[in-house]
């Protein structure tokens, strides 16, 4: 049996009853959905305290997703980047190919518990859309997924998968036609259909309780990792790394390590955010490096915005990371100095993608490649004996067209 999902808030403060981690978070939404958010908060708290809910979720994680996912020691990769030991937490081996399903199973179970028969979701790379469509098929729920037109273009494989799974894909032709536009469209739709529809949000963003709920459902990643490291007798870990779009695989990885800060000699926790074409260009998604605090999609956090407070369009080669905001708990952890965030460019991510393919025979998601791209930097900083854990959030099948266009694998 895998671990029950965690109730660890005795150890860690935040969020408060309005969903604030320090100044970040909250519920900045139209009144129409406030009652639904309050109801959802109560239902989530109730489910969190109900062992039978946790058991149902655990069973699905084990039997349906294939958890626990392996913690794989990548020896050839470690050698290539100049580190002593690299472990990959293989979320790419989850059913549907990414960590997203950890969360969709939790939220859809909750939807059923609340008597909802219809779910909606937003998606960027399409992984959360596929995970939601999959879970909806499994549980007999009606499903509609909002997806930007640009993302529909770059992630056509996932669009087709969602349709096969019986979901309706609703194209969003506003703004840059990417993830942030899909979230806005899904929120607008939810405002209209709030009475019969459950919004399955795919990252650790949005109004309270979503950031906490997504964190708790994704914390299985970090909890398993800690278990697996201990199982191997590992005593020292120098860094734990994950990529950050909205921040769900990262918070799920980091949160248990933040709580257990004294384990493994207190590793550095590092998030890799999308620099796009570079942080000195306007083609970027580096909200931590370049953003300032602001409100978007119902929560207060670091945000790429102009002087008038308009959210900016984010750019990244990765459809899962081109989001102008970041989950509120990450903003809090950054200010507290518990996690640091580093920008990674498209080119660096592509290089890391290539390297993992060739050294380990694993084709990573372009999102996850951003995390891998930190390894050479960490090697410089931490030295050749250091041990680093990387969450490999997803597999790269969906990205084949993108990397082919970028010229990988051509020789």
């Amino acid at each position: 049996m895998s671990k029950m999902f965690p109730r660890l808030d005795e150890v860690y403060t935040g969020p408060d009853e309005n969903g604030f981690f320090g100044p970040y978070g909250g519920r900045f939404v139209p009144e129409t959905v406030m009652p639904a958010l309050l109801e959802l908060t109560a239902a989530f708290e109730d489910a969190s305290d109900d062992p039978s809910f946790q058991e149902d979720l655990s069973d699905l994680w084990v039997d349906y997703v294939g958890r626990p996912t392996p913690l794989y020691q990548a020896r050839r990769l470690a050698e290539a980047v100049g580190l002593g030991t690299v472990f990959l937490k293989r979320e790419d081996l989850c059913h549907t190919g990414a960590h997203k399903i950890n969360n969709t199973l939790g939220q859809c179970l909750l939807a059923k518990r609340m008597g909802k028969k219809r779910v909606i979701a937003e998606t960027g790379a399409g992984q959360h859309g596929v995970a939601t469509a999959t879970t909806a098929a499994l549980m007999g729920l009606e499903c509609a997924v909002f997806m930007g037109v640009e993302d529909i273009r770059r992630q056509s494989l996932n669009v087709y998968k969602m349709k096969l799974l019986g979901a309706q894909v609703i194209p969003v032709d506003e703004g840059s036609g990417t993830l942030a536009d899909a979230v806005t469209a899904a929120l607008r739709h939810w405002v209209e259909r709030v009475e019969d529809t459950f919004y399955v949000l795919g990252s650790a963003v949005g109004p309270h309780p979503y950031p906490v709920m997504v964190r708790d459902f994704q914390s299985v990643i970090g909890l398993e990792t800690i278990d697996q490291l201990q199982g191997r007798g590992i005593e020292k870990v120098d860094a734990v790394v994950a990529c950050v779009g909205g921040g769900s695989n990262a918070i799920g990885t980091f949160y248990p390590f933040v709580l257990a800060a004294d384990l493994f000699g207190s590793p550095e926790l590092v998030g890799a955010e999308a620099a796009g074409k570079g942080i000195d260009t306007d083609q970027t998604g580096a909200s931590m490096t370049l953003g300032t605090p602001g409100v978007m999609h119902g929560f207060y956090s670091y945000l790429l915005q102009d002087d008038a407070g308009n959210p900016l369009e984010a750019y990244s080669i990765s459809a899962g990371l081109d989001y102008p905001g970041i989950g509120p708990e990450h903003a809090f952890l950054k200010d507290e100095g518990k996690v640091s965030y580093e920008p990674v460019t498209d080119d660096e991510a592509l290089e890391a993608f290539d390297l993992l393919c060739r050294t380990e025979g694993i084709i990573p998601a372009i999102e996850s490649s951003h995390a891998l791209a930190l390894l050479p930097r960490l090697a410089k900083r931490l030295g050749p004996d250091a041990t680093v854990v990387v969450t490999l959030s997803g597999r790269g099948d969906k990205d084949i067209d993108i990397v082919r266009e970028a010229g990988l694998g051509s020789e």
């Binding site: 607008r188 119902g298 308009n310």
Partner: protein, 261 residues
């Protein structure tokens, strides 16, 4: 400093609350639009602040916001909107109807809440409507915004406890959202609207104005039977490029709401 928004509701008949988008089709055009609303008999003006991610707005207002932001050199945002309102209110003098800004929260946050409150007060703007600031989240704004009427929204989904909270915390009036969903013209009013208005009225001592989806004089007249005010947005914004057309529709709506026809 203004007298707030209450003045719109003291005429012994329902009030027309008319929405236009600042900076649309351009700055001068929106100034003409404001004048047209006064000529057209609006009792209260709601001036929209162009914003890139208007969560609660339908296509007509979204498009107007996009045009306003791109048509004006250097963009058009909260600062420009306050400046526009100040010019309009100064020009109108005593004859100006109360004016409320309709803005999303982030432009306020970006300018800094105390600073924006000061700018609003000195422009003579009576109040603000912030659709993504529910009462629960409002204390940070309310502590710095004395002298400004902050209008909260009541929704069909609001529970009785939430309606009381909205009713107690609102200033000027309570904005009753007619249906779930975003702003925009709708062919039919929801059946249960009068019941909803009754519930909202019972939760407050303030006037209650109904908005979202009201677009024709006929609909406005029906809403005016149960509400103290009728808000019309998208239908007016759709005519905002032509001050004459805008004035004509505003007049028809005002007559319908005021019970002249």
């Amino acid at each position: 400093m203004s007298d707030g928004l209450r003045g719109a509701f003291i005429h012994g008949r329902p009030a027309l609350v008319a929405y236009v988008m600042a900076g649309y089709p351009d700055r001068a055009g929106s100034l003409d639009a404001l004048r047209a609303l006064v000529d057209g008999g609006a009792d209260l003006i709601e001036l929209g602040v162009p914003y890139a991610d208007p969560l609660a707005d339908g296509p007509v207002i979204r498009e107007a916001a996009d045009v306003a932001r791109s048509a004006n050199p250097g963009g058009f945002g909260l600062a420009e909107t306050i400046d526009l309102a100040a010019e309009f209110l100064a020009e109108m003098g005593e004859g100006a109807p109360p004016l409320a800004l309709m803005t999303y929260l982030n432009p306020l946050m970006r300018m800094g809440l105390p600073r924006v409150a000061e700018a609003i007060r000195s422009a003579g703007i009576g109040g603000v409507i912030v659709p993504d600031l529910p009462p629960d989240m409002a204390p940070m704004w309310l502590t710095v915004s004395s002298g400004i009427d902050t209008v909260f929204l009541a929704a069909p989904t609001s529970t009785p406890e939430r309606l009381s909270k909205v009713g107690e915390m609102s200033r000027g009036f309570v904005y009753c959202v007619s249906t779930t969903g975003v702003t925009g013209e709708r062919t039919e009013l929801p059946n249960e609207l009068a019941t909803l208005v009754g519930r909202v009225k019972a939760s407050t001592t303030l006037p209650v104005a109904v908005g979202f989806g009201v677009s024709t004089p006929e609909q406005a007249a029906i809403v005016a039977r149960s509400a103290d005010g009728v808000v019309v947005g998208s239908a007016l914004v759709r005519r905002q490029h032509d001050a004459g057309e805008l004035r004509a529709l505003c007049r028809e709506l005002a007559d319908a709401v005021h019970g002249v026809v």
